[in-house]
């Protein structure tokens, strides 16, 4: 007979809240890196494509290939693969700091593709408007591509945040902390049903809130 010793409901919050904070920190930092690098990468992928502002076959093929590489490995495999790199960059292979590296490596190409798709939706003549008015390539990107694609980019952002919450849970396996770690170590390993249920409820709520909030923003940005 297995004896499950569930944490009393009153004690759940003292475990749950710090874990929630860790998840938020991890996803927050990763998203910062993802946007800072994924956005320019996505714009570069689109604008070097034949339909872009500065077509360049070789550059396009290379960065496109690298971006696909980052997306082709299952996250757990990617995490294990990049351990030496993680060690090199953050000087540790466990904890939040260590989780940030593989999460970013997975998130950047994902976001880059979402940005590329959003920008590709803009009809060519709208870019021509800028070029014919004498705008530089950077001005067209800033005033036309980013402006017109903003709703699509924000939609991609909520998609990406949700994916990163999921990855942060997987990163719990390398002791990254957060809700995923809590669910696995207390809920799964120790059969603590109260913790398990709480984690599930909180994760479901977060994802719903992110998606709902994201959709609301997209609507308000679309005219």
């Amino acid at each position: 007979m297995i004896l499950a010793t569930a944490t009393p409901w009153s004690g759940v919050s003292s475990l749950l809240l710090p874990a929630l904070g860790q998840t938020a920190a991890m996803v927050g930092i990763v998203m910062g890196i993802v946007v800072a690098l994924g956005l320019p990468l996505g714009l570069l992928i689109f604008n070097t494509s034949p339909r872009g502002l500065t077509p360049h076959t070789t550059v396009h093929a290379s960065i496109s290939w690298i971006a696909n590489l980052g997306r082709s490995l299952p996250f757990l495999v990617l995490m294990a693969t990049v351990i030496p790199f993680t060690q090199l960059v953050v000087n540790t292979t466990i904890g939040i700091k260590a989780a940030i590296i593989p999460m970013s490596l997975a998130g950047i190409p994902f976001f880059a593709r979402l940005v590329e798709n959003a920008v590709r939706e803009i009809p060519r003549t709208r870019l021509d408007v800028g070029i014919a008015s004498g705008a530089s390539v950077l001005q067209v990107i800033r005033t036309i591509q980013l402006t017109e694609a903003l709703p699509g980019i924000v939609a991609g952002l909520s998609l990406n945040i949700i994916a990163m919450i999921e990855y942060s849970a997987i990163a719990g396996a390398i002791g990254a902390g957060g809700l995923g770690y809590l669910a696995v170590n207390y809920g799964y390993e120790q059969f603590d049903s109260h913790i398990m249920i709480s984690c599930i409820v909180v994760l479901v709520l977060i994802v719903q809130i992110v998606q709902f909030g994201g959709d609301r923003i997209v609507r308000s940005l679309t005219h």
Binding site: P123, T125, R126, D128, V129, G130, I131, A132, S133, G134, A135, S136, Q139, T143, I144, T147, E148, L150, P151, L221, T222, H223
Partner: protein, 347 residues
Amino acid sequence: MIEVTALTKRYGSLTVLDGVDFAVQAGEIAAVVGPSGAGKSTLARCINLLEKPTSGSILVDGKDLTRLSRRELRSARRAIGTVFQSASLLQRLTAAENVELPMRYLDISHSERVTRVRELLDRVGMLHRANHYPSQLSGGQQQRIGLARGLALKPSVLLADEPTSGLDPHTTSSILKLLAELRDELRVAVVLITHEMDVVRSVADSVARLHEGKIIERGSVAEVVRSSDSELARALLPLPPGPAPLHESAVWQLRYERPDVDPAWLTSIGRELDTDISVLAGLIETIDDGGAAGRVTVRFERPLAAAQVRAAFASRGIHATQGSIARADELEREPEERQEALVRSAA
């Protein structure tokens, strides 16, 4: 003014434009017509340098745009304003922000931009829609904004690429009226690229017909419709289908050769030749120079000598041809219709 000389554009072995030349003076609207596939869109994209021509020159105010470096071109191309097909407004900017956009690429102060945007919106009658988004505007209103945006940098040449495509006839005529007003007030040289002959007839000063990358016919609109029965002339002033067979020898095709044809010719010629005259089909219009242009099919109800008939009409400024002339509607057809016609003939 703009002067295009020997403009050629090739994609690999495909020659899309083959030595096109034309010039448009300040205060003139020059239409370029032709069926789809004739090279109209490529010509438009070459004129505003969105495509680099393979050879030839484009002189705007005496400066050859094809010889400029990328950097020089960026500032020089501002002399050409473009009005795009279906306006192509940015959906996330208001009408005013769309008009302001080209000015943001230059060092124009905010207050100056605001003043200019108001002026332009007022000019195109859209000041009351300044803060509306394109999705809240009708097609005609969007194109008015597109016109204002094309004029934002005070260009000396305005390139209008199918500016009325997709608009209903009433909206089309209001946009064309605006275009003519802008031509007269701002003295811009307007290059109007279109496949709609009504548009050419009602607003253009001159017309050039593009066919397989070459300009094969040109002249002032008045000249073309009054002096020949060419395909372009017949497309510009099309004869509605008549009720009777057109091969009878008593049937005559008439064309107004002079702007001052006396509208009472029907009665006076009937009296002179002592015959009744049936009008089978006709189109008579006042064109841009204020004079009349017309094409009429008539039938004489009594046999007459051809020379006598010709002389009677000639004395009244009307050119008469015995028999029928084929209708020319090829030039004006919509691309989709042409496609369908092709599919039908293939089947």
